[in-house]
Structures are given as C-alpha cells and as structure tokens.
Symmetry: D2
Subunit: 309 residues, 4 copies
C-alpha cells in the first residue's frame, strides 16, 4: 500500500541493530518490529540518519529494508534514500518500492542554500526516482544545515504531486506547522501529512499545532502513541502529563552526536535489541553517561510503570 | 572585587529591559536586580546575546552595565564585551572595569575554525583588553558556530592567566566538563570556574559532572539556585525533582531565535520587567505561543508554588 | 549629490591607512584621494571590509568618512555601514549623510539563510536608516556566507525604492548579471546600477554582461578605468589586453585573508600611502610573499608602463 | 607500483566522460589517456570531485578506474575513494588496489571542524582501508568547508605511515606549503609529496614554494607540465610566461560550480572527449559563457601555438 497524505500516528525511526562485530543483527530487527507493533506503531521509517545508513553497503541497505517491510505486514514502511548522488538514490528507491515499501524519505543535500536551489533539488530527485513513488521531505536544519521556509515547502508540495508528507524537525518549528496548515486552509497548498521528529522534544505542542503524529526514534514509542492518542481525543492534560514524565530522558536522548548511542543503550536494556553496538565511526557512551541514563530510567519507572526494568 | 576561579553559584544572564518605544527601561533594571538578589543569585552577567547587546549604542551599553554594577553591590557583575573589532571590545572592557565590573565575557568570532585560529584570537583579545582584566570564555557552538575542544580550552587557560571562567554551553557538553576537570586533576590545566548556560537544559547533570553553577537566563533563577544548592549538599533526588518540574517550560524557552521573547514574556508576567518589548530585529511571540507559555506556567504552578500567578 | 541608479565607472574601495602605531594616517587619506582622482575614479567607497571598518571606533569611522567626502569633492562617496545591530547602522548612516555622503552600502548579516530572511533584513535596515538614504546591496557570498539569488535581489530592489545599486561580487557571477539585466528588460525589476567587486577577477567579462563598472580595491585603479572605458567604446580586445597584463597581480591580490596586506603593500610601494600597517588582527605578508609581489610588479612594469617603480 | 612520497610532476584530474544520454563513454576515456600521456602527464587521478564520483554507481566507479589503470600502464593512477561511510570507502579502495591502482585519495567529511575531529577521521579511514594502501590527503577547504592547519597535516602524516601525499588546494595556500616544508627541514614531519590543485591558479608560485607538481584538471595539462619543468630547471621567467599566457582561461575555469562544464567544453573542442555532457545534477554553460570561452581560446592560441583549433 502506498503512503499518502492521510498518514498519521506514530512511525518510529528504526535503528539498525548490529552485532558487536559489526554484522547486521537480523534477529533484533524482528524483535524491534514485534515491539513496535505491540506498542501501537502505525508504521516505521528505516535507513534514516539514526539507521546509520551511510555506513551500510548497498546490498545491506536493501536487505534491512526488506526485512522491515516483510515484518511490518500491512503497516507502511518508509525508507530513507538520501544520497550524495541521484543515481544511488534512484536505484535504492526503486528497489525498495519493488519490495513493498510504502514510500521514501529524501533529505536535502547539505550544500543547498537558496530557495531556488532547494526546490530545484527536489524536482531533480523526483525526476530521478520517478513521479510514481510517494516521498517525504525531511526538514532537519540542525543536522543538514539547510533551512526551508514554509514557502519553500509549499513550492515543493505544489510542484511535486508525489510529495505526501513532511517529516518536520525544524527547531524552533511550531510556527512552521501553523504556517503550513494555514496555507492548506487558504487553499494555497495541497494537504499533506506532517509527522514530527526532532527527538520528540516538542511533540506535546506539535500535535496541538496540527501535526498528524510523530516520526522519531525515542526509545519509548508507546509514550509517543499516548500523546498522539490523548491529543486526538481531546485529553490535553493527560497528553502533557505522560509527555512530561518522559521529558527528562527524552531531552537526554536529544544530544547531537550521542543521541543514537543513548537510544541503542535504552533499547538494549529494554531487551528490544541484543546489543547497542554501532558501526564506526560512532560515539560510545562513557561510564558516566550510562550511569546517568540508568538514573533517568529509574526515575522514569516511578512515573510510567511500562518503563520498569 | 575581581572575578576569580573560585566563582560559583548562579549568575543569571540579564536581559536588557526596554519600553515599548525601544528606550532602555531603567526602572525594570532595578526591579530585575532586586529579584535576582531575592532569589539567591551570586552575581549576574549583562550584555550577552540575551541582553540584545548588538542593538545598543556604545553609551547605552556602558550605562546599562553601570546600573547593574551599582545595583548588585558586592555581587560580581560580568559584562559581555564581544565585538567584531578589538578596538570596541577593549574600550568597553576598560570602561566597565573602571565602573566596577568584576570581569568580562568574550565569545569567539564566528569565522574562527581551526584550533590555532581560536587560541590566537583569545591571545589577541587579551592583548587588546590588557592582562589584568579577568575574563570568561563563552563556548556556545550552536550560536557562534565555533567548536572548541577541551584541548583548545586547556590552551587558552594555560596561555592566559587572566582567564578565570568558562561559560560552558556546548551541546552535548557533559563529557567536555568531565574532560576539563580531568585535566585539572592531572595538573595539565589550571583550575577554573565552570558555569553552564545552554538555557540550563542539562544543569541537573552538569552540576554532577563538576560545574560550579549556572549562568543562564531561565526566567525562574530560584530553580537554578535550588538545583545548585541541593547538588552541593548531596540531595541529588531533590535537585532532579525541582529541575524536572521546570523542564517543560525550560525546554520551551530553549528555542533558538525566540527564546528571548519567551523569557521576556515570562519575566513580564512575573512582574520583574514592565514590558517584553525587544528592539528590532527581534522575534515576537504569536498568540498561539503566548497561550502555550501560559499553559506551561499554569502547570508549573502546580509543581512549584513560587511559580503561581 | 545623492547616489542614483545611473552611477557608473570606477569606485575604488579605499583602504584605511594607518601609521605603524595604529593611528589613522590622515595625510595618506589625502594622497589616496589625489591619486584616485588622478587615475579617473568616478567616486569611492569607504569603510568596507577592506577599510578595516570593524576595527575602528565610531568617531574614527565618522572622521575618516568625512575626510574622504570632503576630499573627493563632487565625486560621490559611498560609506559602508554594515553592523551587527541596526542602531549602530542607523546612526552611522545618518551621520555620514549629514556630512555629504552620496549613499551607504549594506551587507547582509552572516546568519541569514533563506530568501525571506534576506529580504526581511533589508526591509528592517531601510526602516532603521530611513527611506531617503540611497543604498547599495553588497552581495559577497564568499565572505558573508549569504547567498542571494537573482530573485532575491529583484525583491529587495522592488520593495525598497531607495536601493539604487548592487555591488556584485558573487562567484561565479556572470550569469547573475545577465539574469538581473534580463529582469530589467522584461520590466520585472527597476533599473539599478551594478558595479562589480570580487577583486576585479572577472571584470573583463562582467562589463560585457552589463555591469556599469567596478567597485574594488585593486591597487591599480587606472587599469579598472581602462577596462571600463575600452568596453564602453567597443574596444573589446584592448580591454582584455590591459586586463590580462594585470591579471597575474590581480589574481595574487585575490587571496582571502591576505588580500588587503598585498594591496596595502603595493599602494605603499606606489607611494599612495605611507605605511602598509594594519590594525590587529591583521595578516602580515611574509618575506617570501613580499618578494613574490615584487616579482609580479617587475613583470607588470614591462607590460604597463604606469606600473614602473 | 605503489605511490610513494617521491611522486612528482603532473597528475591531471580526469573528468568522467559521458555520452549525451548519460552512459559512460569508454572511447573518450581511452582518448583522454592517450592525450595525457602525449602531453607529459606523470600519472592521473580519477573519481575526484571533477570526476562526478557521487553520480556513479559502485560498479561504474570500479569499471572507470580499471580502464584508466589499464590505459595508463606504468604511470600511477590515484583513485578518489571519499564517501560518507567508511564501508563504501573501504570496499572501493580495496577493489581498485587489487586492479592496480597506485593509491587512493581521501577528502575529509564536510562536517569535521576541530583538529581532533579531522585527525581522528583519518585514523578511522586508515583503519577501514588498511595500513598498506598509500593515500593522499585532499585539503580543499573551499569545497569541503574543512580547514586543516599545517599542524593538523603534520599530525596526520606522522600518525599514518601510509600517508604519502598532500593534494594541496587551500586558498590562500602558499604559506602552508612553506610551513610544511619547514616542518620537514626541522625533522618534525616525514617528507611527503605535495601536488597542488585549486585549478592551478597559483601553480606559478606553488612550485617555487616547494610543491612537487600539479594535480588539477585544467584543460591544457601541457602547460602545467611546462611550468613544473621550467621551474625545476631554474627557468623562472619562462615558467611564468607560459603560465601567464594561460591565466585568463585558467581563471575562467576556476568558477565554483561551473568549472567542470568549462573544462569539458574545452576538452570537447580539443577533441579529447566526444561530448561535454554531465550527469544530473550538473550546471550547463549558457550560450554567453560558451562564447566567452571561445573568445579566450582564440586569444590563447595567439600566445601558445598548441592551443590553436
């Protein structure tokens, strides 16, 4: 089933689990899938920044994506296909769509600066992968150093009918969501799905501003699902209560460069993956950092019983 | 009294209060000072990024700094003197020291890249202001785009005896504090004071890693003082409890570009300043954003009685 | 006389001459003016990047600009007023206009990224200095890291009637000149003057693409004047011949960071300024570099008799 | 034969020739090789920035490199293996060495900032490809935004015995060559080969500062060979004369973003490649730009008879 603009809910960004020797750990992929489904994920996104995509061989990328696609069943899998060259992007995009992916995610090249460069790049990318593959714009200035205004996103959406979703992770970004939803209300932009990333740091308000859900790798996706569900059903305070309970850990995960190490460590402690190994180059947690995470987990378990160990 | 490496506690970064017409609001300066002292501040820092320093005329800068210096009495006032040119930096530094400032804070020029460029710049800055003025390194990569490794800070400290403090706001930065304290323990770096900024987002752990306190503009400095005091007295859980109660708002303030607007709005609601006006160019809060802050304040008041309105 | 969109010819970017002790050398200013006029300059621009503007005290800036304005007589003087804050920009702009400047030059803040940020900044700047002061856009991505597309320049021009000139120094930039002139031909942009900088490295073709002249600090402005004059009178080969004769030296001057040192050294050797001293921080030429410049000057003197020593 | 620190002379950076439909043009590879050898090239470098490497599929990269290796015979071929991930880098490096490459070239990741990050990256890269593959550091700040001081290069050389060459293309960079040669003279750095890039814009003086030759893609490599040969034999003026004759065109080629289009166009006009087609995304020359190149070629043919058409 292809991704479309009605997508909503929680799409965890999946890490790529490795064995300590660097080999892909397929058993842990299966366990991740099982837990994602169990905690209410509506889909998943693989081979993103957090999936250590640039460290994978082309065949590994395809094999990992395929395993997630098969395991998630009816639930849509979005595959990150960002690459320095359009040839590699196009090949991966077509391969994963053939294997059942719901759509692909495309980040801008870090060298893009002006509005025209950014919109031009998305035109070229769509030309390369073909107009029939639904795609997601990844708007993450902190990592990619590319700043897209609401008007630029509007242009990309209007120029490319296959654009169905925005992975919103600008920071700050609340006004951007409001601006995009206002474009839609005015009829100057086609309706798209907006899922938010940025580690979930503003998910409590993003859902109130018009986001359809979350696409991030926080190690307790059940909390993300709670927030989205409570907000949809009008239980604002309950949404904030559960969000606030997790905020100290969520904030700790949101450290550029070591966030993935924190997440893999927590997922390992939860038993969702067997090892927190990363491929090189990758930042490891110090003993002090691990102890800090342990402390945060203990405190969290007093506030959210699902977080007990 | 001159600033030295034993400085500790809480130094709120003071905003510059303006009237709605853009004039400096001196009455609000006096009220700010009164409240800072009342909530346990050990000193204050003025004319930083948050003080809208680049929007001030030279005489205004001097006059504002002087008013803070006089109002704070025995408590040290640190003055931001960062400037594109060393002549302006030197003149402001000497002027405020003559009027009783305890020391100055110097940020790196945004164009600096290599280790040698950064250390060279601090040598030139010290040559310009003179070796007798105690200074603070401001290490804020997110804003200044300059990355200083622990070794670079070590070199700056060792080469410049007048360097007495680091305003630490790297992100992530916990390992950097540990690395610097390890240098001191090994005897390869002179002991300096480390106060942390970054909006306080990691203050709970920074104090555990060896920071001496906080230097940030969060609108409830009494909480910063609590965290520092509880940590010093070994009450770890209490420190985290009060920190966590404030984290939702503190996180909201930590939005690049609009953080100052949030802080001024909260300070105005607390009655510490008369208006949340900023000089142009400055980002104003939308109605939606103000409502979000109001909601966060209401929730906060249930957890910390000092936050009631 | 105010600057307007008909301005053309050569506006040398003037360095600020200093005595070896760092004091401003007013006698050398007078000599520079005399030589500029003697070699056919149509105006001059002061307090630009090359004028070491950020190293000057406010009173010095005003005093230097005034001396140039008085010395140049009827010929227009453009004053760089770029500053981190709008208050300082506005004050300098008004002061120099009162003293007879023809217009001001405004560079974008280095932090600007998106089209909307850039056009917004120029709106704010015009609001700050007032709509009656003619201004020049400085488009120099290599130094300011801000990229303006032709459409952005079009918006700035159309939104701000007081914008009369573009100092074009994008690199590459030939197509940009053509695009802007095409906008004018189509009637979608008001006619402006375009003078080119970038050290003159592409002046030979820029004049053919539609530039009205040169605004750069190359130490032989008589060559710039030759190129512009020959091109205007249809003597293409002669324009390129004289340009090519100077290109080895001109290219040598165009080294980021040391270009000013080269220019001051050559101007000193020509007797136009008394010393090549720069204020700190400033890159000095090594003995090897000075010998290289000497060698280039010797070679140049065989091709252009005005370059003999 | 493996590359070592005695390498010198001219290594043209080879473009990847494509047919207008985007397929690799193997016949043009053969013709390029023939001409390179004919004009005195000592080796060649393939799959660099100019080789459109990121636009190639992995098998294409290997096949192109192999064809060059076979065609160049005894002359060393250096293969660019820079990649976002170490897995891809390592695989390509081993594959081309098995097929007879002399060594590989590694550019830093654009995200690297501090000295420690840069040296750490080269350690990891050597670990990934193995310590037995000779490698070249590519130091090109303008394109990669990474600034390496002489001390950083010294550390990389001393820490990694397999580092045998620097492709120097810092700008300005003359003092860097002198600094590195001084380290060698003092015994604080092992002797390496230095070939210079940067389009050759400073080759005339780089050879005088201690460079061993040129590694750049200027479309008349015979001129590069002349300059290197004349300088080695002490004919300084002759070296500069031939260099200056080519400087107007060489400077024109040195336009970021369109330089490759200019070079392919000139190589096509010379009959060295059949088409100037680039894979997308790639900047095409406008009609005006082509006419400018034609004009420069006509002028060049009057100064260097080998440039006639």
């Amino acid at each position: 089933m292809l991704l479309d603009a009605t997508a909503s809910g929680v799409y965890p960004i999946a890490p790529t689990p490795f064995h300590p020797d660097g080999k892909v750990d397929e058993g842990s992929i299966d366990r991740l899938i099982e837990h994602y489904i169990g905690c209410g994920a509506d889909g998943t996104t693989v081979l993103g920044v957090m999936g250590e995509a640039p460290k994978l061989e082309p065949e590994e990328s395809l094999s990992i994506a395929t395993r997630f696609i098969e395991g998630m069943g009816e639930r849509p899998v979005i595959v990150g296909v960002s690459a320095p060259g359009l040839a590699a992007m196009s090949r991966l995009a077509r391969s994963v769509m053939e294997r059942g992916a719901a759509g692909v995610m495309i980040a801008p090249l870090p060298s893009l600066r002006t509005d025209d460069q950014i919109t031009g790049y998305y035109r070229q990318a769509v030309e390369a992968i073909g107009p029939d593959i639904p795609f997601v714009i990844q708007d993450y200035p902190l990592t990619f150093t590319v700043q897209m205004t609401p008007h630029v996103i509007q242009r990309i959406v209007n120029e490319n009918p296959s654009c169905v979703m925005l992975k919103h992770e600008d920071w700050p970004g609340l006004e951007k969501i409001s601006a995009l939803r206002a474009f839609e209300a005015q009829g100057s932009m086609r309706r798209i799905s907006i899922l938010t990333g940025n580690g979930g740091l503003f998910l409590d308000f993003e859902t109130e501003r018009g986001a359809d859900g979350a696409m991030t790798g926080y190690a307790f996706p059940e909390m993300l699902a709670d927030v989205v569900r409570f907000q949809k059903s009008g239980q604002r305070d309950k949404a904030h209560d559960i969000f606030d309970a997790h905020l100290p850990l969520l904030r700790y995960e949101q450290q550029q460069g070591i966030g993935l190490a924190v997440r893999k460590y927590v997922l390992m402690k939860r038993g969702w993956i067997a090892s927190d190994a990363q491929r090189k180059p990758g930042a490891a947690l110090s003993a002090a950092a691990r102890a800090e995470v342990d402390y945060l987990l203990t405190r969290l378990s007093h506030r959210d019983s699902r977080a007990g160990f």
